[in-house]
Symmetry: C2
Subunit: 189 residues, 2 copies
């Protein structure tokens, strides 16, 4: 929570009835007590399995790896992915002392290895970490470690955002947009 | 030129020696008189052919289609594309009364048809119009019209800009990033 939100909350509570402040306080405690991480994907969850992992209609053969639970929310709003997720809870960042062991990477490798042993390796692992230095380093690390345990490893597209303009795009994004060009499909609109 | 730049220029000229003002004025006239469009790609040029079209080391079999001369500059800074260009000078926009005939589209179709007749069709036409409504409509129109005259038609990647964050990306960009995912190449960093 940033300073502005904190200030807004403080002034709101000063004006609000005392009962409301007490209710908010117990709700905050409930969040800490009752919200847990999904045992399978480590998304935030109210029970042992999050609603996405518990949903039998999702595609079991694909898993999308993201840094944070909010990334799952963002992707779910688009309905562009119908598989499962895996939430790392961060990205590898040697500068901040975050190594692979501080993230849910071991658990992802175990999920992949287990499916592989069962004779049904993941058809696709989508690496959807952010296109930042840390996110790219994490994607690189995961691709190397997942290796032969999965059928394919893909990376979300880095490029010009929709509504953007080539002229104002930064150089690295332009390079990515050019390198990432694909066969034009007339149906893609 | 926006009002701020105009103001800055005005105040600069008031302080500058009279000779400088005269030199700037004649330079402005020279720009209008001497800068022409390249006969081949319609980029701005000092002679009949722009430096890129005149350069024998560029890949003749690929052409990158952009909306504006400034897009050529932006792409050239990245050195990610080694072929030729074609500058449309805008995008199709029915709302603004800009139809295909107001752009350099006929000339592009002629370039492609001519190579096709000569038995050496373009190996690739990269559609690098902006990922806006107008740019996408233009790409769609070009793809349909270029059709069988070229070997392949590609589109630059739309996706998360480098340094960006999934959580803050708009929904359409996220959809594009997911749809545009590609096999992860360990060498792509």
């Amino acid at each position: 929570m940033g300073p502005k939100t904190a200030q807004r909350l403080t002034y709101h509570l000063l004006r609000a009835p005392e009962a409301e402040a007490r209710m908010l306080a117990s709700a905050l405690i409930a969040v800490r007590d009752e919200v847990v991480y999904c045992e399978s994907c480590f998304n935030i969850s109210a029970g042992p399995l999050c609603p996405i992992c518990a949903d039998p209609s999702r595609d079991d053969s694909r898993v999308c790896v993201v840094e944070e639970p909010l990334d799952v929310l963002a992707l779910e709003r688009t309905a562009a992915f119908k598989g499962r997720y895996h939430v790392l809870h961060g990205a590898i960042s040697p500068m901040d002392g975050v190594g692979p062991d501080r993230l849910r990477i071991r658990e992802l490798l175990e999920r992949a290895a287990e499916r592989c042993r069962a004779g049904a390796p993941y058809a696709e692992v989508v690496l959807a970490t952010n296109p930042t230095l840390e996110g790219e380093a994490t994607a690189m690390y995961l691709a190397e470690r997942l290796g032969a345990d999965v059928d394919s490893i893909t990376r979300i597209a880095r490029g010009i955002p929709v509504g953007g303009d080539l002229e104002y795009a930064d150089e690295v994004t332009l390079v990515r947009a050019m390198q990432g060009r694909r066969a034009f499909e007339v149906a893609e609109r």
